[in-house]
């Protein structure tokens, strides 16, 4: 099954695949394997493990579980101010979405959210370089959270406490990568945050 999703439009084209074999990717895209158990096979040679990502070009893939394809990340230039303005106009700032004081003036802009195959996703533009999100370890509801870098460079920092000086690990992200899961066997997270290195877009994934 292949479903075209609209949540990244008009900047990024996305397709959700489930139980789909011998699908040939037209051109280049980022593939996010959303399945927690099954690998995606590319060209019968290379396997993209569960909750991993890769950049693929004109490849034939077998998706026994579920995966997302993101097209167009190469064409989004965040140093082009017109593009940046268009993104900020189309996507809402964190404050506009929550009206929480702590979010006011934070340059994080979110696309609409989509839920498909039990996975909730949205894109997030971080309009400034070197701009961390809030430090947190809870997500309001029990979810497995991942960030796939789509444009630019970023990182997920792990911290000992809520204080920004207590970073003990950084998981670097470049376009087409996703960090390793942070949660332990009990589903508990360390304190963590996303941080842009350059202006960036990431895909937030909640499973």
């Amino acid at each position: 099954m292949i479903e075209k999703l609209s949540f990244g439009e008009p900047f990024l084209e996305t397709h959700y695949l489930e139980n789909e074999n011998a699908f040939t990717i037209p051109g280049c895209c980022l593939l996010m394997n959303l399945d927690t158990e099954k690998s995606v096979l590319a060209e019968n040679e290379f396997s993209v493990p569960p909750l991993s990502a890769a950049k693929l070009c004109d490849a034939q893939i077998d998706v026994p579980g579920k995966a997302l394809l993101v097209f167009g990340s190469d064409t989004v230039d965040l140093n082009d101010l017109l593009t940046l303005d268009c993104l900020r106009s189309a996507w809402k700032s964190n404050w506009e979405l929550t009206h929480l004081d702590k979010h006011r003036g934070v340059p994080y802009y979110k696309s609409p959210r989509v839920t498909v195959g039990g996975v909730t996703m949205n894109f997030c533009l971080v309009a400034d370089p070197d701009c961390p999100s809030g430090i947190h370890r809870e997500h309001g509801k029990p979810v497995k959270e991942l960030h796939m870098q789509v444009v630019g460079e970023g990182a997920v920092d792990l911290l000992r406490s809520e204080h920004p000086s207590t970073v003990f690990a950084s998981l670097p992200l470049s376009a087409g990568t996703v960090h390793i899961p942070e949660w332990n066997a009990e589903g508990i997270y360390p304190w963590h945050r996303y941080r842009s290195v350059t202006r960036s877009i990431f895909l937030g994934i909640e499973i």
Partner: protein, 273 residues
């Protein structure tokens, strides 16, 4: 958390046609009445903030347990001819400077400034784009200071009879959104919506991301009478969205200032509460 209810107040004599229900000779007098009736806050009409002691105002509002829903700025347009789009650059810059001082006052009151009439009208022969360009420049200057002192600046839609270009919710929101600032926000007003927004629930939904102040005012700037405008429908949209910011009564003080203020709160509690 529910919506916060406020009433527009003024501390000087103004014509009855101006839509400020609660009138007194000082804002303390207005606050005493609003507090006794049970409002959460009051909206102040301030022509020149230098005539007020911000700390005293803050202390007074605290004594009455009231917030300030907005510092409204239009009197400087009506009585001094100030305007954000005035053809004379000196007057435009003086207006920007006045708004900076309004922001200082609003910050002290933990509030926000509201810009309606003060944005000004189109000059004869001026195109919509020329009007927008000049207003954009003035808004950017005020907004830079609002962001610096972290105090919100709110702009109102104004219908075609009283304003130009930014009359509908959609047009006003599009204008505000181009600044990409969480400090530049929106005031919806039922009086203007009834003329400009054919689908009021859709217009309110469109504005929710920036909506922090909602003026309740019927046709003719009177209290709602449920004959002209569907306030119940508007309230339902706000409730459904979990809106928890200010809702203000803006109406002519009829039959009397006190009665209008009392009945206004009664209506807000019944329909928006």
């Amino acid at each position: 958390m529910g919506m916060k209810f406020s009433v527009c107040t003024v501390d000087r004599p103004l014509p009855m046609a101006t839509p400020f229900p609660l009138r007194g000779t000082s804002y303390e007098e207005c606050a005493a009445v609003a507090s006794r009736l049970g409002y959460d806050g009051i909206e102040l009409q301030v022509q020149d903030p230098s005539l007020y002691d911000a700390k005293e105002l803050r202390a007074m509002l605290n004594r009455y347990g009231l917030g300030c829903s907005a510092i409204t700025t239009g009197l400087a347009y009506l009585y001094e001819g100030m305007s954000m789009v005035h053809p004379d650059e000196k007057i435009r810059l003086a207006t920007v400077e006045r708004l900076h001082r309004q922001l200082d006052l609003a910050k002290e009151l933990d509030s926000q400034i509201l810009i309606g009439y003060l944005r000004g009208r189109k000059s004869p022969g001026q195109t919509d784009q020329e009007f927008e360009d000049i207003l954009t420049d003035s808004v950017a200057r005020v907004l830079a200071y609002a962001e610096e002192i972290q105090t919100p600046m709110v702009m109102e839609q104004i219908n075609r009879n009283d304003g130009d270009v930014f009359c509908s919710t959609e047009r006003t929101m599009s204008f505000l959104e181009k600044f990409h600032s969480d400090w530049l926000l929106y005031n919806g007003d039922t009086y203007h919506m009834v003329t400009e927004d054919p689908d009021v629930p859709a217009a309110i939904r469109r504005s929710l991301s920036k909506l922090v102040l909602f003026h309740v005012s019927d046709e003719g700037r009177l209290l709602p009478d449920d004959k002209h405008f569907n306030f119940h429908e508007a309230a339902a949209v706000l409730k459904e969205a979990g809106y928890s910011e200010w809702v203000s009564i803006e109406a002519r003080p009829t039959p009397t200032s006190f009665e209008c203020t009392r009945r206004g709160l009664e209506y807000l509690r019944r329909v928006f509460g």
